[in-house]
Symmetry: D2
Subunit: 277 residues, 4 copies
């Protein structure tokens, strides 16, 4: 018995150049589309009537970008969602995920060049638009935002059992690769402004927090966003704990005054939570 | 308001060697542990009482493996789940994910060497054990299983709109990187036997199917598992469509008799479904 | 002043299906082509006369595969090298690298299916053909061959200084991801047979060796190939030392009888050498 | 016969925090060390006398960083090279590669925070120091510098054969992931200043160039560095051509006015050259 099913197209890469004389604008997106609906017979009987090919989904991304332009990723996602719902009677639920690769302008002689760009990263902007016959939901996000605190981070007071070896610390490095997604109330305008406000709120809260754990800081960052950006309804944060371990230098006759660390990739702690109004 | 939260340790790498004289056995696992429970105060107030450190989770993996041995990944996951539930009063829901990296024995002079191994892949065996105070659920799976059909695969009869360019085909390559996970009824014994039965059933069904689409073949593979392996309650399959496109050779004065393909990585179709009894 | 230059096309993905009735053969290659020659003016003046576009290099891979078939990767490389040297007067030195992704046949009811395949790995076969107006050299290789010894591996007798903390060991795990390339004397026939002979010789030597270090085992493996496969003129081996560290269980009141290891990915030792007749 | 051999330690991850009251400085490096010398007996006989363990190489990185601090990556590399040559009589040639992961300060209320950082990328700074008993050579570099031009890039005038399908273009996108390494004359002081000068020269030359091919632009960028930064003796540039292909919209009744592109990852052109005074 078919319980749940979805199909779609992923990793559709589109770069759109808009030419204003000598000054070009650039949008560089990776788009994924996912359909759910009354497609049971395509699974059980191989009946493809009504099954929009994923190749056509891809073509639609290019065609709509050409015909209508691409402004903010969230708005482009909304346009795709509406297009697919309008045209596909079997479609019940469509999701469009967008990854926005940001390019800054190269400086030449102190001025921005109009047609030459360098990628800015490593973080990327994300958007997810979900649509049904009844409603549209818009999430925005940031991913791969690598951040580190070298002060105001402790971890103490946890339970100990026979397998505990971790020493308590009042001064450790806290480093993470933040992925956050937040839901807007309705479909606001001016997505770029909101996105920048959330990103800088997350960074400021991380920097300013007196951290007792990753959980503690994650919660504070989420609360700060809800407090500072009123169009945000809820936020989900994922923070892997990229452990930076102090190196034991005592065998070398040296003291580690909390200065020398080995950055590790595995194992890693993984902390996540959703915070809502 | 904290709506939902989880924390844990990922990418715990453990290799266990069991020595039977000259013949060694090898188990090579990557383990991830995830806790949900009454941990709200650690987020809101930085209160760590009752918060088992993720470092201790890691230590527990090594300690239990040393004390009790490691047989099948599912059984090791069940042992970890029970240990954590027993010791952590705030814990409500624990999930242990295991990735089993399989090593075969190197052949020397036609005989298996007792202490030398080569990795067999690229697919890996997976297991997920989920536990609450009331019950334990065991999922097994396979991931990165790369499979390809060069015959008996068609895609026709789909709707066309103004953005459709895909030609219908009655003879295409069908290639995917299968990820499947299935749930057992209760906690069966003899996990290895069941795992091998499901894996070979998936491969045989894929090979034998007269495919009208990825959806159609995916469904047939899932149904075959439910038909052939009675301890499986449901199965979830994810099949990216790794498109192999025939190369247009006409400009070179050559004909492509369905022989020359370019293997592409993006964009890709993505098909998934859950099939249950 | 332009000192040295090269240009070419990388990551050309080609799958060739050969149909013998119900039984299909499959070849799955990634090809890279690299030209060196009298191309200085294309750099200094942007003069493209004589500069074969890398797009045409790609097309040539598909066209030759269609026109002449693909048997062994080395032989296909030789054909490409000759084609490019014949057609491009400015070309002095051409190199073709090939990565051969091996697919085995899926078993159905104990018999090999003619049209369904599963990838076998994680290792891949490699080939490099280098040609000038005067001569052609053929290297073959294997990459990503993950191997592990759980016995007969020691590391002792090394110098100690004030920064040494490593304990000597007479019984450690030795694990590596082997990459080896070997040069044939001239252009032999029967590349597949030689390749299988070298690969199994490498595995057997690794398994049988009484290792005093990675260097020691690497050298023995290379010597074994020169001893057993007479068409091999020299061999280069690269063996990262994928350290498996015994876990200290003493804090848990447990003893580690050389059974429990953490598999690490970084840092890693890196050992390489070329061995010739 | 052992022809050539090297051994060392790779992926040594070190983060050094220097505390000036409330304001911390951060250096985040990945270090690799490679020894060549009179180590033949370790290969042929497993004799480890004189073979410094790679584990000690790693420890030395941490110990020297603790004892002497870390300023510029090139200077730290020089210190490591000298240390290893001083202590290891069998060592003839040592190479230290450093990857410098740059962290910028998080802004809070328009001011730089003293103890909170965000990674800046995706490009990284690289350094390579090579030493023998007679001399020390210092290379610096940049890698993963993603750059794109949407104007002033053409590709015409190339030869056509029976496998040519590429249309000539006077207005294409030129995008690459630049890796450049340059050699300094001797061991200059003030590595950071030189590095910034080279990086901005590369960016400006790329932006301003009227490109007839990747080769043409690569050469111009190299010449600009030699012209503008007098301590640079030679420079090697590697520029993969990350093709951005205009999407054919004619089937949709739309015209592509050079606005809509698909960004591809494979196949890719690969252009490289060394330019010296």
């Amino acid at each position: 018995m078919l319980v749940k099913a979805a199909y779609g197209k992923s990793s559709v890469r589109i770069v759109r150049v808009t030419r204003h004389g000598d000054r070009h604008d650039l949008r560089d997106l990776t788009v994924a589309i996912r359909f759910e609906g009354d497609y049971g017979e395509s699974y059980t009987d191989g009946k493809n009537t009504g099954v929009l090919p994923t190749d056509t989904m891809k073509n639609t991304v290019y065609a709509l970008a050409a015909r209508d332009g691409v402004t903010e990723p969230e708005a482009f996602g909304v346009a795709l969602v509406r297009h697919f719902l309008d045209r596909n009677p079997l479609l019940r639920h469509v999701r469009v995920d967008l990854l926005d690769h940001f390019w800054g302008r190269i400086q030449v002689g102190g001025r921005e060049h109009g047609q030459a760009f360098a990628r800015v990263g490593p973080d990327s902007r994300t958007a997810r638009v979900t649509g049904t016959r009844d409603r549209t939901e818009v999430d925005a996000g940031v991913t791969d935002l690598l951040i580190m605190k070298t002060g105001h981070s402790a971890f103490t007071g946890y339970p100990r059992d026979e397998f505990t070896t971790l020493p308590e610390t009042r001064d450790r490095i806290l480093a993470t690769s933040l992925a956050a997604t937040w839901r807007y109330t309705g479909v606001p305008s001016d997505f770029g402004t909101h996105w920048r406000a959330v990103r800088s709120t997350l960074l400021e809260a991380f920097a300013e927090h007196d951290s007792r754990s990753v959980q503690h800081t994650l919660h504070d960052m989420g609360e700060a966003v809800l407090r500072c950006v009123d169009v945000v309804e809820s936020i989900h944060l994922v923070m892997p704990n990229r452990h930076h371990l102090p190196v034991d230098l005592s065998a070398f006759g040296l003291e580690n005054r909390n200065e020398i660390f080995v950055a590790t990739t595995e194992p890693y702690g993984l902390i996540e939570a959703t915070i809502a109004r």
